[in-house]
Amino acid sequence: MNGNVIVIGAGIAGMEAAGQLAKAGYLVTLLEKEEEAGGHLNNWYHLFPDRRNGDEVIKYLKDQIDNDNITFLNGTRIDNLEKSKKEFIIKTNRAKEICADAIVVATGFDLFRSERKEEYGYGIYDNVITSVDLEKMFREGDISLINGNVPNTIGMVHCVGSRDEKVGNPYCSKLCCVTAVKQAIEIRENIPESKVFCFYMDMRMGGALYEELYMEAQEKYGINFIRGKVSEVGESFNHKLIVKVEDTLAGRPLKMEIDLLVLMAGMEISEGSKKTGKLLGLKTGENRFFQSRDNHYGSNLSNIDGVFYAGTCTSPMNISETISHARAAVLEVMDYLKNDRK
């Protein structure tokens, strides 16, 4: 009716943006490199802070994009992208040429590759896993060690790949603390006799109902919190993991044997975002995420007219923030298209 929009990425932000644009009467082409829409949410079982099932949110989003105004192209990779006057022309492996008046970049984040923190031995020691691996175990209802035994002592390492200059990520990924607390509670629910230890630098529980969840974890579930960054992981003679950390509040180094160690992997701008950014010439900030035109009132605006950001390609966000950000992107697109593309 009043314009064609391409949304790149069918994760939470892309699906929500596509849905809202379609409802407003725009014709949307939603591109996704994977077969399935949903992005990282597909790997998540229960969500913080209320521990609802992630599938409910996926269902909401899938209903959103079930709209005649939306063409969903999965398994799609962008080969070429050009701006000609005010029109964008995209060539992909699936459709020859798609033309659009505006683009919403919703290319999201990748999880930090935990093997880069060599000292934690991910990929080397059998029972060192990531938060995503654990979520899969929750979904399958089977939390077990490599030998099939049920873990008794579980450690959660916060800030893996976040607030870490050594891996080039000085920023906080914001969601790992609350994820650790949520997962610690779920471990205790699944294995009531287990002991869970969170190794943290600071507890950053800055979201609605996060601090309450933290208190619940302490009081109701008896989760132990030890303030200190894990410095190295090894294996003991009886094949348990040995964690070395400073108990900074005791002012002493501490070592502990752990059956299962969960690394709370942080967020980085995704490889897909990097490729898209390169094709479009998008600016990135110091943290390598896309740089918005204004931090306060222009977080959806890119350095290129007609290209808008939605979601975690600009910074780490939780689901509610991502959905709000996607809706805000839609308002910016409408403003751009209705008011003569200024």
């Binding site: 302490q218 009081e219 919190f225 108990d247 509040l249 005791a250 180094p253 501490l254 502990m256 044997e257």
Partner: protein, 119 residues
């Protein structure tokens, strides 16, 4: 020959400062958790230690004491516990509603009950 290292060598082998979690006995902590569950809510903010009369005049930190109890570093705790005057100011300031005064009382009880520390 053995045991006279300082005389013979001028130095000796030290035990190390590392807390060996598995080697420690956390009975005292367990007793407190059971009888004063608010002990679990402590986030080690140090409000209690800042207001503590004893801590301002002698080397005594209630916050640190709580950590050491949780880790089972019992030998360090017992002598320190006696310094508290049970005035209750710490409980007044605690932002998490931890009954800090009762924790000191319970810790003393637990030490008395423990054979290792009974007077």
């Amino acid at each position: 020959m053995i045991g006279n290292n300082m005389d013979k060598f001028g130095y000796s082998i030290s035990k190390g400062r590392q807390i060996n979690y598995e080697a420690n006995d956390r009975k005292i902590a367990e007793y407190i958790y059971e009888n004063e569950p608010s002990f679990r809510l402590c986030i080690e903010c140090g409000g209690c230690s800042a207001t503590c009369t004893t801590g301002n005049l002698t080397k005594f930190s209630l916050r640190e004491l709580f950590v050491l109890i949780k880790r089972g570093e019992n030998d360090q705790i017992w002598q320190n516990l006696k310094k508290c005057m049970l005035c209750g100011k710490c409980t007044l300031v605690c932002p998490r509603g931890v009954n800090t005064r009762n924790i000191v009382v319970l810790a003393r009880q637990a030490f008395q009950k423990s054979n290792d520390y009974a007077i």
